[in-house]
Amino acid sequence: MRPRLLSARSGLKPDARGTNRARLALFGLIGSVFWGGAFAVFYRVLTYFQNVQDFGDILAMKLMSMMVVTFFTLLLFSGIINSLSHLYLSRDLSLVHSLPVSVGDAFLSRWLGSTFDSSWMVAAFSLPVFLSYGLVYQAGLAYYPIVLCAVFFLCLLASATGSLLVLLGAAVLPAGKIRTLFVILGVGLALLLVLVLRMIRPEQLVNPDSFASAVLYLNSMQALDWPWLPTTWITDTVRLALKKEWGLSLFNLALSASCFFSLMFFTRTAAGFLYFRGFSRAQTTAKRLFTPVKFHGYGWESLLNFLSRPARAFAVKEIRSFFRDSTQWPQLFLICALIVVYLYNFSVLPLDKSPMKTIYLQNVFSFLNVGLAAFVLSAIAARFVFPAVSMEGEAFWIIQSAPVSMRTFLWIKYFLYYIPLLVLSELLIIASNFLLGVTPFMMFLSTVTIFFLVPAIVGLAVGLGARYPNFKSENPALSATSFGGVLFMLLSFGLIALVIMLEAGPVYRIFMSRMHGHAFSLPQILWFILSFCLALFLCIFAVFYPMSQGEKNLLKR
């Protein structure tokens, strides 16, 4: 564990340019804002619940149970991904296994690292939730250390379960197909997301006709959770500590602890038999999950024949590398699931039941939809476009030594992502507008706004990705959570908010005048022109400035 701790300490040391401190300050600030925000939201919700007669406490406890299950699910998925990487795919594993250390110790040290990586964020952001419960329900002092222990065991339980699943998976899957676990995980997650949405049917909650079933739903909420699940023990530990029933609370905590130790015993024993065998199999070259399909002899090369040769070379290289790396797929499946969910939500919006005029609401939603689609696009860009330059990895020397200027290289990258993202965003906007049944004006405005926002977001992502690249990362996709990635998200969200705010006023005026048949005054027309021009300028600036900064940085390397 020492190399890891020493590396972490070196990472915290201030560097010559002071960038480490700036990064720490930025992450600290963002973390505090999220932490504070989560606390404020939960405190507000729980205070509100307390004022609801009869149902308040039931709702609060149900919410807690749901939160614990959610945290456990997140920890479990994160645990599986981290275990796979820490136990089988990390670059330093060859060194670890060459050392005179027993397989059990090697497994344990990797498991500890994986547990920390998969848990710290969920653990940190679960604390404001439990803190707000403690404050709202005026819990005793002992509640807080009990909650800390409960969160600690929740993380350990999820991580031990995840590692055991990965150990078994790696033992069952044929050699060279270990990475297939990522694909299975991705498909599973996507299906789960769609299924959960279909089962919850949140749109029914706004329908007064279904109130009778909501009462039944609340009754069912009072039913006890299944007593054999660790999440039930953790929930009961916290719930009973809130009620100052210390004995029962500690009993549930002890149940969780003993479950973890038993699970860890099994995992450690299984590791003794399976880990090294699985690791050796993972060293075999990754086999392709699917063999490439050529339609009547046409491959990517012929399909992209209209591009210039360097552009086509980059495009084909990027597409092939992406589709041959199965570790990339889970997030692709998730995005597909999210898009389905996104569109599905618009198809079930009960606009006709609202007391407001439907046409007004339809258009308000359409306008908000532009912002929402742009935020979704930002998230996709953070995951796929921002790491695009870093994805070149240590092979970046090929670009540096090739007779292609850095500017050309960056713009090729830009267009590679711009075109598919533009098509995706426009399809999203048009499909959701179609489902909302908006006016032609709103359809025109939203498609045009997205048409200018997409290049801006892609420019920001490629530019900042080149300004803050990490060519040495084992998994460049994770650079979305780096300093540059977070900066991209902040700037991108800021840009979208600014463009939406600049357009909101004029759009409202234009819309109302159309509804009421008013004409515009000259200052109003000037205001419209200024707002739209400013929004356009912001988008253009967001394309070119980050790209030039990125290019400068890559040339300096």
Binding site: A16, T285, A286, R288, E301, R309, P310, R312, A313, V316, K317, R320, S321, R324, D325, G393, E394, A395, W397, I398, Q400, S401, A402, P403, V404, S405, L555, K556, R557
Partner: protein, 241 residues
């Protein structure tokens, strides 16, 4: 063909290359030797247009690398010290990628790529993804790709690392063959026997400064080591620096 004038690279914390000047004629094989951290790879990376110098000039075939990097790179074949490649492409796909970047004639590419892959004993693995290649195979693929566009200048950093004896002999013969076709070769190496055997002239660099350059006999004269082997000359020069 290669001219370095007062070439300097200052990394702020380290002065990696200090006012380095040298000339390499067309068809000459120039060996660049020095201890670890002497500035060999930094020099080579600057020559390949991979990093920017902080001072001085690099002329390749009369083209200033700082002013026209793309023009200079068109005539350079660059081989780095570590074979990092696009692991998810096959060997042939990688060759095609390079051919597209250099805009090579497609018919010529088909013939030349097969020729090179055969020459470097990679033909049976041309359709395997690079991830499955051994270190030596990757190194051979990089050299093959660097030769694809018939460069006038080859800049090579540690060409023999990871190669088996047969491949070492093959690469050495290929480099000699290229030099006889008037291709200029600038090669950095730690394998002094190779430098002695292969290079027309050798430059010894230490702490970013060129200590001496010339044929082995000229280096012996500079180091006052009589008729010693290159290893002895090198150690004397570095020790006395």
């Amino acid at each position: 063909m290669i001219k370095l004038i007062d070439l300097t690279k200052d990394f702020k914390t380290t002065l990696a290359v200090n006012r380095l000047s040298l000339d390499v004629a067309a068809g000459e094989i120039y060996g660049f030797i020095g201890p670890n951290g002497a500035g060999k790879t930094t020099t080579i990376r600057m020559m390949g247009g991979i990093i920017e110098p902080t001072g001085g000039k690099i002329l390749i075939g009369g083209i200033d690398v700082s002013r026209d990097p793309v023009g200079a790179k068109k005539i350079i074949g660059f081989v780095p010290d570590r074979p990092f490649l696009y692991e998810k492409l096959t060997g042939m796909e990688f060759m095609k990628f390079i051919a597209d970047l250099y805009r090579l004639d497609l018919r010529a590419f088909s013939r030349r790529s097969l020729e090179l892959l055969e020459q470097f004993a990679l033909l049976p693995w041309k359709d395997e993804i690079i991830e499955a290649y051994s270190h030596g195979m990757k190194q051979r693929l990089i050299i093959a790709a660097a030769l694809l566009h018939d460069p006038r200048v080859m800049i090579i950093d540690e060409p023999m690392v990871g190669l088996d004896p047969e491949a070492v002999r093959m690469v050495r013969d290929i480099l000699k063959g290229l030099a006889s076709q008037n291709v200029t070769i600038f090669v950095s190496t730690h394998t002094l026997s190779l430098a002695e055997d292969l290079c027309d002239r050798i430059g010894v660099i230490h702490k970013g400064t060129l200590l001496a350059q010339g044929t082995v006999a000229e280096l012996n004269l500079a180091a006052k080591t009589g008729e010693a082997r290159l290893e002895e000359v090198f150690l004397t020069l570095v020790r006395e620096a």
